[in-house]
Point group: C2
Chain length 638, copies 2
């Protein structure tokens, strides 16, 4: 394997300057379109009014057109009678032209009409041109309606038409071609099942959607295999096509099948190879035949962040649009967040409002973890010079969702349960309050409640001495806090084992067998406490269990370890076993509660959440999942 | 003329509750679409993952697949050699499946390969599963990907495909039919010239664009005449069509040709007729055959505000989307803003950042003035209970543009000149700094500079004693302020008279003729000062001029007065005369300067503006307009 290196690594600001200066001259051409269809487009030239508006003196009211001079002196004491029959005044509707002989309009509500509508009595005068919209009052022919590079809104369409501009010259939409490459990739639309070892190609669809959002017309080519000659041929074809911009995804890293940089270099120029951001490092910024050619990373989150940093600004610039700057906000960081120096990290975050402050919780890091980007509502950028941020420090976030939606977010942490997803779904159907949960185990949730870093914590911590759940932990850790404890569900815990139970595991006694490898949950998790309790009850010594000291942080991670054959068994909930089609050996039932500071109970969001928990529809949905009982769901323990 | 009244007037909050409760059940149907095309759509049901991701243990790096146990003990002092030839280790690329016999990956950069790639030396161990993305690490089959009513983003498309969801059930787009009515209206697309007294129909295009922005499919019918039977027939047809929502524009007021409320009432129910907002009062909220039918006001600004308050939220609700709440900000009000009690006023504002504060300047009020909405970057809502706001008070704005763009806005006030539009156009072509100007006359501009309510003021105030421009006024009003005075242009001032000069006006002497009606500019305007100076020089008495005491606030308003025949002459600039094809009798040349506090000179926005003023391209564009000289353009007087 040849070791390749990034040819020309740059920081994000350096890379952006190099790229934008290289293509600063690049604009799309001009096309003339109907003003009716121009909302969302960008003016290519200054637009001047063709007609004035109003184009005649128009009545601004429904009423009587009059000569103002004939109304002078009218008052309650000396009303004036206007003769409509002989045209001293005339009925006029809003927007209609004022006949030449009149110079003002009296509101119809201020006129006492005779039964036959031939006379009208008024008790107040009008001044000349009162209630009249004069020629050009809004728009004067020849005046500048919009400058160049104006992003047209719906009201702008009204202004164009009103000013007699039936057509408008706008920037053409930039054309972008996206080339997915990778021998390991399959197009899900062209296959019924995914061959072993193959990966679903999804980047081209998301990059296409981002490009369309930025106003571009998109072509996605079929998937190209990781073959130097094939890639080179397709890249050349794409550059010679109508495309204004070409993106090749991926092969932009430094692996043995990463040809993109070499090929661009051969056909044109590589200005930047490698940007010191994470995710997004394997980015190539190049040029072939005067056209921008971008090599984009293979990992989904990297691909998206790289595209947003380089391609979206380019597409906007080509249409004469400014680069959009995201809305920002300051928030308290819920956890320590170490970061590698020398690289700018884009960390995906979940943010909500606790009391007066925004609080932000990091999601995991992986560039392959697309769900960190779909779940995040904000981004924390940790500069290359920083080695991270500490808990409770105030950090500056870029917001991915409207601020109001972020402020409406219910933060939930602690132990995870599937029922939280069901609550989230019910909330989305009936309210503006999303539920965003992160998983740190039951004890972690209690500590987050203590530190004002969450609205809600899910917990299933058994006190082995009392057999009671959660209460003793609340008494120990939350003495200074007034909290409610509300039962969400009872649920089965049991051993997840491989399908058809090849190792014949039937009870907790089996765990100490020599041929059984076990995987535990992390210290502080309710499941681990439960295991310890069951071991004690059965008189078993943890040291006898192979794997007691290795742990995972979620039910699902334990299930995956079992599925992969790395271990033979782990303790967890039925839903996790079902998800991966594992066998499930019930061990015991436990109670899973929500801890909520009482100060939050009256929040509209929490009220809505409690209403859902107490609804029959919710309970029915939970029961249908299997492994759950809702017999005490909604019961307030504390 | 029959006097009609609003049948059922409501406040905005009341009307919104009545309307949203009436149609709270109304959702569009469900359709299944390709996930590839789902960005921007809304999930109709919870979406669960079909496949796990990764679907196999995948290498997270380019490197060597190894058994972790075989790497233990490797260090700089005791490197370990792995035999690749006999499969002790194997080359692996990012994303490729980890063969069964290995359980970790070593980064290729950490391996010293032999020349023939048969062995690799490592100097550090890896732990089991290091640099491996395990099955389900990102997505586990059966887990909730998205709840119902989730507005899908481009990254969500990646998550759907990665999770094997090729299709997704989304809410159908709501279908809306818009019926423009009005005997006085013409469709600009169907006519070459506008018949006298007719008005261009523009509302249907802007309402259609707003509806499309809200995700709807739009049908616009041809224009219907103001005829009871015709309107009724068309409304019935539209309700019976595929439309989910019908909007009829206008005829919603209380004029003699306003049939909408009566017709809806006859065919169904009018819940609200008249909402106490301005603009937007003549709004009808009704229902026919279970479908929402909205009577929308005729004035463009009223139509837009009414549509945004009622129809857009309905269209979003039908798709399962929340109502969007606008971004808000606090700003200092630049002028007193009286408001009529009893009605909630939506005042269009121009806002920019002066020093540390946002400053906001009201645009004029008219519901017919579409340009107030296209020029505004923010809205001030003055509650029904308020009689207005006072100058320098802190007010809460709804932002119509991104906050950054508002903060980048250069505020300009004082006297208006066409060259400011040219600067605005040049700025839009080369910078993110829009120029927003309002017009209050030269002296008004100087006072705004004094009060920190503008970045720039345009001024052409002649000191009759010295013959110098602006300096003496700066000395008088801005003693406490350090300002720069920069010449923008010299320009012709002259008399605007009707085409072909029917009254034979040739010099200032003609103004005192008995048959000449004149219109003046307001006190404090540079043009009025100039007139007074010319009158003094010529030994003329203002009292002898018929119309000296009537005034208008802009060159264009003066030109319109002349065009309409209301007056015979007014003093103004060539550009205004040209705009309305009036004749122009030059009287004198004057200097038009920009006043800029020196503290703003280093702002990037002002730097950019000064660079434009000093550019040849700008000067050439100005000279081409006629009536201008740029011989001292850019010269700093002070």
């Amino acid at each position: 394997m040849k070791r390749k290196i990034y040819l020309n690594m740059r920081s994000l600001p350096e890379a952006r300057i190099i790229f934008s200066e290289k293509f600063s001259h690049l604009k799309t051409g001009v096309e003339t379109i109907a003003s009716h269809d121009s909302a969302g487009r960008v003016s290519a030239n200054p637009v001047t009014a063709q007609l004035s508006s109003p184009s005649f003196h128009a009545s601004a009211m429904d009423g009587l057109a009059v000569r103002a001079a004939q109304t002078y002196g009218a008052s309650d004491d000396s009303p004036i009678t206007l003769n409509i029959a002989n045209k001293q005044a005339a009925f006029i509707n809003t927007g209609h032209p004022l006949p030449d002989q009149y110079d003002a309009v009296i509101m119809i509500e201020h006129v006492l009409l005779s039964d036959d509508n031939t006379t009208g009595i008024i008790r107040a005068p009008v001044y000349p041109w009162q209630n009249v919209r004069k020629v050009g009052e809004d728009i004067v022919a020849t005046e500048l309606l919009f400058p160049s590079n104006h992003h047209l809104t719906p009201p702008d369409v009204a202004a164009l038409l009103t000013a007699g501009c039936l057509e408008i010259e706008v920037r053409k939409k930039p054309r972008i071609t996206i080339i997915p490459t990778g021998t390991e990739l399959v197009d899900l639309r062209e296959t019924d099942s995914i061959p072993p070892g193959k990966t679903i190609e999804s980047n081209s669809a998301v990059l296409a959607a981002l490009a369309r959002e930025a106003g571009a017309e998109v072509t996605v080519t079929p998937i190209i295999a990781d073959d130097y000659t094939t890639i080179k041929k397709h890249l050349e074809q794409s550059v010679q096509s109508q495309a204004d911009v070409v993106v090749i995804n991926a092969g932009s890293s430094a692996g043995s099948a990463d040809y993109t940089a070499e090929i661009i270099s051969e056909l044109g120029e590589v200005m930047v190879h490698g940007v010191t951001i994470m995710p997004g490092k394997p980015t190539i910024l190049g040029e072939i035949a005067g056209k921008p050619v971008i090599g984009s990373p293979g990992y989904p989150v990297s691909a998206i962040i790289s595209f947003e940093q380089f391609v979206v600004p380019l597409l906007r610039h080509m249409q004469g649009l400014e680069v959009e700057t995201p809305d920002t906000a300051t928030a308290l960081l819920a956890r320590d967040l170490p970061s590698k120096g020398g690289i700018e990290e884009f960390r995906r975050m979940i943010t909500g409002k606790i009391g007066k402050h925004l609080v932000t919780v990091p999601l995991k890091k992986g560039a392959g973890a697309i769900t960190t980007l779909t779940r995040a509502n904000s981004i924390l950028r940790i500069p290359a010079a920083s080695e991270g941020e500490t808990r409770r420090s105030s950090v500056n976030l870029e917001l991915l969702r409207p601020r109001k939606q972020i402020e409406n977010t219910i933060l939930c942490t602690g132990s995870h349960d599937l029922c939280l997803d069901i609550i989230h779904d019910f909330l989305k159907q009936s309210s503006p309050f999303p539920l965003a949960s992160t998983h740190v185990g039951s004890l972690g949730g209690i500590l987050a409640i203590r530190d004002n870093m969450t609205h809600i914590a899910g917990s299933h911590l058994l006190d082995p001495d009392t057999g009671e759940y959660n209460l003793s932990y609340i008494n120990r850790y939350l003495q200074d806090k007034d909290v409610a404890l509300i039962t969400l569900v009872h649920r089965q815990q049991g051993f997840m084992v491989q399908a058809d139970n090849p190792k014949n595991i039937h009870s907790i006694q089996d765990l100490i067998r020599d041929d059984i490898r076990f995987i535990n949950r992390q210290a502080g998790s309710g499941t681990r406490v439960l295991l310890d309790h069951e071991l004690t009850t059965s008189g078993l010594d943890p040291d006898e269990i192979c794997g007691y000291d290795t742990d995972e942080y979620t039910h699902m991670a334990v299930a995956v370890s079992v599925l992969s054959g790395k271990v033979d068994a782990g303790l967890g909930i039925l839903a996790a076993a079902q998800a991966l089609q594992l066998d499930f050996i019930p061990v015991t039932e436990e109670r899973y509660d929500l801890i909520i500071p009482t100060e939050f109970l009256e929040l509209p969001s929490i009220q809505q959440l409690l209403a859902i928990i107490n609804s029959d529809a919710f309970k029915q949905t939970v029961e249908n999942k299997g492994g759950y009982s809702t017999r005490e769901t909604g019961h307030r323990v504390l």
